[in-house]
């Protein structure tokens, strides 16, 4: 049944996030294409300004796509669980746990896809921009290739020692963030239902309350780590020592905190769905 729930949930939600990501890619490509236009050499400030505006639009779209997907999935969760559509969801022959797990998986996967899409859009923007410049100035592509080779040589510097562990911990933190981010959305909306007369307001309030608690926990944990970082002169590495092993530890600590918060919010949400469900 869990597989069927995931299948139908996926079918119900895939269109809007895909559309948002498609729009982001188109904006990235258009922003990259501005480099092929002669506007940058114009004497009139308006033309390069319009190019800058397009690049800024891409920047806004990168931020907006994640927010847009999160808001859409939050609204979808609320509608499918606590409005008229909830009458179908909660009368399916499945357990509250199966319903919740299916929602968590689908939302987390879309959060992850949204995050990956932002990186891909940067690639699209950069790739199109390089090709655009290369089409204008034939030597540009050669310059880029040489620059990339030089960047490759940086790997041998002490600065990049332990970078691979940093990379793995960053990916791990991103995955955990998708789960904990999803659980913040789900728990906020589920907790909001306890305020029977003001369910949406309750959800928004719960979101800010949960976020404040997480910020508080993060501050308590980060404070001694930050002090240690300062005393170790971690900021003064000047390319002679690597900061990445330190950040790897930091990311692991943050991941553990996010994971604990996500699991805690999951347990709370499941309890509320089992024991406090009250459809209008």
């Amino acid at each position: 049944m869990l597989g069927k729930l995931i299948k139908h949930e996926w079918k119900a939600v895939w269109k809007v996030p895909t559309l948002l990501i498609g729009i982001l890619m188109i904006i990235a490509a258009i922003a990259g294409l501005t480099f092929s236009l002669p506007i940058w050499d114009s004497d009139w400030i308006g033309l390069p300004m319009s190019g800058i505006m397009l690049i800024m639009l891409f920047y806004v779209a990168m931020i907006g796509v994640g927010i847009g997907i999160a808001i859409y999935l939050a609204v979808r969760y609320y509608k499918s669980m606590f409005t008229d559509e909830g009458y179908l969801t909660h009368t399916l022959p499945v357990t509250a746990r199966q319903i919740l797990v299916s929602k968590v998986i689908v939302i987390s996967v879309w959060e992850l896809i949204g995050g990956i899409a932002v990186f891909v859009s940067l690639g699209v923007f950069g790739g199109v921009a390089v090709l655009s410049l290369a089409s204008k100035e034939g030597e540009f592509a050669t310059l880029v290739m040489e620059a990339l080779k030089e960047v490759g040589q940086l790997w041998n510097m002490p600065f990049f020692k332990d970078f691979q562990f940093f990379g793995i911990s960053t990916v791990g933190m991103e995955l955990v963030s998708c789960f904990s981010g999803t659980m913040i959305i789900i728990a906020s909306i589920t907790m909001g239902q306890m305020i029977r007369k003001h369910r949406i307001l309750g959800s928004v309030g719960a979101y800010f309350a949960i976020s404040a608690v997480i910020q508080g926990i993060a501050m308590v944990i980060m404070f001694p780590i930050t002090i240690k970082m300062i005393t170790d002169n971690a900021f003064l590495y000047r390319f002679e020592t690597s900061p990445f092993s330190f950040y790897t530890i930091l990311w692991v600590v943050i991941s553990i905190v996010y994971l604990a918060v996500g699991i805690g919010l999951y347990i709370l949400s499941e309890y509320l769905l089992r024991r406090q469900l009250e459809l209008e």
Binding site: E85, G86, L92, P93, T95, L279
Partner: protein
């Protein structure tokens, strides 16, 4: 006759101490069509929601086939809420596939036949259908299951008399004879002819649970007339 649904000391108190149901005890038998009747705010919908697990009781319990409301009971209860509850962005054929996936007792060929009889296209999106047509689609989906218990909350409210006849005909011709149908409505005279038993509820308390035949014989009145007498303002 064994009870399909057993309700023991069921109490539901909403916020601000509003008592919707108070110490309700009831045994609903198998193979009957039962009218759940009472004035507005009497607790009918609350009782239906509790049977379906959409509310959690403050006290007491509901058991269906001996089980508390959960995945097992939901697989044998077919529920029509008093509202349109399908996702508007779905097509009718997607709904059929949805029900087929989740309910082992769903009969898609029966649903398709009823849709065809009413001229409702399977390709139609729910958002393009009128409220009345959406309600008919909901009823078709609910009655295309071979459930043990059908719970229909106001199935004929807000539809024209011709549609009422169609809905009642659909209920009568599609329910499994070993199953029980609970119909909650205000329109008693329209459904009286199909009822075996009635349950009267007032202020969250059971007023009466009798067969229609007994009411006619002992009171010498129709259920509609008796309801008006009992609940006279």
């Amino acid at each position: 006759m064994s009870g399909l649904v057993t309700i023991n000391n069921l109490t539901k108190v909403y916020e601000k101490k509003k008592i919707a149901l108070e110490n309700l005890n009831l045994v609903i038998p198998r193979g009957r069509i039962i009218g759940l009747l009472g004035p507005n705010g009497s607790g009918k919908t609350t009782l239906i929601k509790l049977i379906n697990g959409l509310l959690v009781p403050t006290n007491g319990e509901v058991r269906i086939n001996g089980n508390l409301p959960g995945a097992e009971t939901k697989s044998c209860v077919s529920y029509l809420p008093e509202r349109t509850y399908f996702q508007n962005s779905m097509q009718v054929k997607e709904l059929i596939s949805y029900f087929e996936d989740f309910y082992a007792d769903f009969r898609p060929e029966r649903a398709r036949q009823m849709l065809a009889n009413l001229g409702i296209s399977e390709s139609a999106y729910l958002r393009t259908l009128s409220k009345g047509t959406k309600e008919k689609v909901q009823l078709i989906m609910v009655m295309s299951r071979e459930a043990q218990l059908y719970i229909l909350d106001e199935p004929i409210a807000g539809v024209d008399p011709a549609a009422r006849d169609y809905i009642l005909k659909t209920i009568i011709t599609n329910y499994n004879e070993n199953a029980t149908v609970i119909i909650s409505t205000h329109l008693i005279s329209d459904i009286e002819k199909v009822l075996d038993e009635v349950i009267f509820i007032r202020d969250g308390k059971l007023v009466l649970h009798e067969t229609v035949e007994d009411i006619r014989e002992t009171k010498g009145k129709s259920v509609d007339a008796y309801f008006r007498e009992v609940f006279a303002c």
